[in-house]
Amino acid sequence: MRRLLELEAEVNQLKAQAATATTAAVAAPAPAPAPPPPVEEPPQVNEVAPRLKLNVFGDVGYEWYNHVPDTFDFGSLDLFMSARLSQKVSVLGEALFVAQSDNSVGVDVERLLLIYRQSDYFHASVGRYHTWVGYYNTAFNKGEFLETAADRPFIYAFDDQGGVLPMQDIGVNLTGKIPSGKLGLNYVVEAGNGRAWGVNLEPTQNYQDANTSKSINGGLFARPDKLPGLQVGFSVLHDNVTVPGPSVSETIATVHAVFINGNYEILNEGVIVRHAESGGPVFNTGAFYSQLSRRFREFRPYFRYQYFNAPSDDPVYVYASANEYAPLIDSGFVGRLNGPSAGVRWDFTEHPAVKFQYDRYSLRGQATENGLTIQFAFTF
């Protein structure tokens, strides 16, 4: 009975609303406003599922170097996935298939990050990441298509490809803006397992850290409003490195000044690495590179000069593996390497690019190395 009364009351209420609407319509006969046209939603590029985006990067090419047979070269196939799990949480994954020096193709989980973005001032991520050591490593990651030159500067070669800096790590990463007005300051703080050094060791300590010391990296950079395209910054990393013999305290300081706009790309970075044996000697390694390029329509000629000089008795770099970016450099390379590279990048259509590059390396105590590279880099 009570239910019937409730229903009767609802019917009366609806009748009253309908009568009011009719009266209003008679009083104001203006036509009802047309419903807004539907907002167009163009399909999102590379969206393979409602949440998942996939980008593929790859590169192939041909190389002539004067101390090794010239060869066709499969560089890498990079599957980059990202997804937004909620408004503030996203995930990023990168699986890399890369040619090895023994002609096999290795598979590498290059990055796997769970990212929380609280605001522009605080982003936190956890997982496997590319370290913010200098500018180049996180600006270009493993995307040859995004790089102007055919390869990374020697100092920023990936650690699992013979590089000497810790380019990858497992841990946490905090980034964000610092309220600084037109100065445009940003910060980066990272804490991870650090890099492993030793013969035939995977540099990134994916499963087990070799010691209890964690790698701590911090950096600041500025993008001033007054000079659009300019970024200057520095980073300092500290870790205790476990190698055969006394433990080594490692400090890596980097500075960078880069300018990138539609036409110009000017990259300058300097690195100082300090290795101090416990109660023993100190070894300082210096390195820098400078890269200049200018776009002329679809062509971008570029020039790079790089310098690296490690003490011959450095207790850590003697364990460096063969560097795949400089074929003459065998494992355990120490000493001085310097020289110019010059080339031209041709973006002949939107996404594939071809690069022609000449390299000349001088290695202390060894013959000079000359090389030519043709690289086709693409993304889809």
Partner: protein, 174 residues
């Protein structure tokens, strides 16, 4: 304690490169002002912002700033590629062409940034509807597509660098 130093050349090189960079920056060409049709920047009528600098516009459209001062999420929207006003806007505000613009967001995604490319509309009617329906939206239209007499429905124009689209000193033009 034995010391091996090979860092002196690094300091010298950094100093030289800093000087070269500074010189290069001073001789870079600056965008010339063109005296043609203005491009009107529009926001939702509920957005209290009335003026934006070019550098603020760049941050908003390059997803370098994700929230307005009111806390609303920034939702940039653009006309689809090919429109001359889009080309002019990207050049004047972002210093990019369409290819660079796409590459910027590709690189931003690849570096793990939260950058999201602006929504794209195929018509200015759709664009204005989107801005009118989204409190945090920002877009731009040709001057001929913005009447400013209340008939644009839920959107309003904002000044750029303190100048309105009708002012002689307005820089954002096709």
């Amino acid at each position: 304690m034995k010391k091996h130093n090979s860092v002196a050349p690094v300091f010298l090189a950094i100093a030289i490169l800093a000087v070269v960079t500074a010189i290069w920056l001073t001789v870079l060409p600056h965008p010339a002002e063109a005296a043609s049709d203005p491009i009107v920047v529009i926001v939702n009528v509920a957005n209290p912002v009335d003026n934006l600098s070019t550098s603020e516009l760049k941050k908003l459209f390059l997803s370098d700033r994700s929230r307005w001062d009111t806390g609303k999420a920034v939702a940039p929207v653009m006309i689809a590629p090919g429109a001359p006003e889009r080309t002019a806007f990207l050049k004047a505000v972002c210093g990019m062409n369409d290819s660079d613009f796409g590459k910027y967001f590709l690189q931003a995604a690849f570096t793990g940034k939260s950058a999201t490319a602006p929504k794209e509309m195929s018509s200015y009617a759709g664009l204005k509807t989107f801005v009118a329906n989204s409190p945090g939206a920002i877009g731009f239209v040709k001057a001929g597509d913005f009447h400013g007499d209340g008939s644009d429905g839920g959107v309003k124009a904002v000044k750029v660098d303190g100048a309105a689209a009708g002012d002689a000193g307005y820089k954002l033009r096709m």
